[in-house]
Amino acid sequence: MMEFGFSLSPSSAVDLDKVDTSRFDRLVEMEPQARICIGCGSCSATCTAEPYSGMSVRKVLLGLQRGRDAEVDRMLAACMLCGKCTMVCPRGINTRHLILSLCRISGKGKEGKA
């Protein structure tokens, strides 16, 4: 291939027609509260893992609905399941439980389960 000295970056635009939200849909079945997040960011602000890993429940929930699965998995791996985020969520979402359910759906073992 001819080298022109520059490359094209892939578009970062999200095409909602094509996004696969099946993981989010399954999460909603297990955790109906996943739908009522208002994106306030309290969870991320209080999360001890966030400054080091970028973990954010807000971004996890949004990412699942925007097809950013790889990012979601990276974030989930950093969660320590401390439950601080659950204490601050103004919508009363049991975020810790939600993360656990999501790990189950994703087949990622927390608490030693696969």
Binding site: V14, D15, L16, D17, I36, G39, R58, R66, R91
Partner: protein, 345 residues
């Protein structure tokens, strides 16, 4: 309160027969006055007569309009009538009407309401250009049984709502928030989900302003029970694709990514803007007009229903975007202020 005995024949001119004018007329009749409602269109009820169900209780709009019409049968109502000229004569006001008559009144109430923003002015949203784009008012008419080719017989799978159309938009000449359209969008999104249970629905908003009683419950319900998606970002442009859908582009500002989605129907939340047609009349009576074009109250805290001029009062959306309960409360409040004013004459 004691009924007005001495001035039972004193006329109060009510300009505009929307719910503000009707509710004020009802209260004034109860106080022993003779209100005269001057309405430019061929029916009373104003905008609410076009709506289907009202937030926050989903009560039929028809119920309140019909009740008010019934309860104001004792008032003189002049339909298809406008005011050509207005002036002061001693303590009274004289109004020259389009039917050739002159009306003399001890007090005047402006209840001339608002105008709906003309959605076609925001050309980038494609109203009047693409067949899939409609307004909040079009949708209410459709809910009321008026046919609409944008919906009838169509397979509707994907629906979008655009908030703040012509509101919070300095370039469109309206810096103000219209206040009712966030909750109207959520209400209509829920109603559409009930009509089209398989449809996916997206609301594009800048902020969700859900200030009123039960409004936040509507929001939670829309998310939890109806699965409506909320995307924070103002729609930037709308275009049509080859399959006959409209493509909406926005930035999802919470994700920091541009998004696009194709839709079968897009509903624009046209805002409440000032009724410019009353500026001429306001000018003849030396009434103040605010920067947003709505008529100016004496002050916005204690005397919202009073003008700077003795004997001239306001009620409802004439002074700014209002909900139905706010409008009705102002109308009753204005009627009492009119009573106090005329009693002191």
């Amino acid at each position: 309160m004691k009924k007005n005995k001495n001035n039972a024949n004193q006329h109060v001119a009510i300009i505009g027969g929307g719910i503000a004018g009707l509710e004020a007329a009802r209260a004034l009749l109860g106080l022993g006055y003779r209100p005269v409602i001057i309405e430019k269109s061929d029916r009373t009820g104003g905008h609410v007569a076009d709506w289907h169900r009202l937030f926050p209780d989903m009560s039929p709009a028809k119920d309140i309009v019909e009740r008010l019409r019934r309860e104001t049968e004792g008032a003189r109502t002049l339909l298809q009538t406008e005011i050509y000229a207005a002036g002061r004569l001693g303590n009274d006001y004289t109004l020259t009407l389009s039917d050739g008559n002159t009306l003399r009144a001890g007090a005047v109430l402006f209840s001339t309401g608002f105008d709906l923003f003309e959605a076609a002015k925001k050309e980038e949203y494609g109203y009047g250009i693409y067949d899939q784009v409609m307004t909040n008012a079009d949708l209410e008419r459709w809910f009321n049984g008026g046919g609409d080719k944008r919906l009838d017989g169509k397979e509707i799978r994907r629906i979008g709502f655009v908030h703040c159309v012509g509101s919070r938009d300095v370039k469109a000449g309206n810096a103000q928030c219209s206040k009712v359209c966030c909750i109207t969008a959520i209400k209509q999104a829920i109603e559409m989900k009930e009509k089209f249970p398989d449809a996916e629905i997206w609301c594009f908003y800048m902020d969700l302003r859900l200030f009123g009683k039960k409004y936040e419950d509507f929001y939670i319900g829309a998310q939890r029970d109806y699965g409506i998606h909320f995307i924070r970002g103002r729609v930037s442009e709308v275009s049509e694709n080859i399959e006959g859908r409209v493509i909406v582009k926005a930035e999802d500002t919470l994700a920091g990514k541009p998004v696009k989605v194709s839709l079968d129907v897009l509903v624009l939340m046209s805002g409440m803007v000032c009724n410019r047609q009353v500026h001429g009349l306001a000018c003849q009576l030396s009434l103040g007009v605010d920067e947003d074009g709505f008529l100016k109250s004496r002050d916005n805290i204690a005397s919202i229903t009073e003008s700077d001029n003795r004997g001239i009062f306001y009620a409802g959306a004439v002074t700014g975007p209002k909900t139905v309960p706010e409008t009705l409360a102002e109308a009753r409040s204005a009627a009492l202020s009119i009573h106090a004013y005329l009693s002191a004459q």
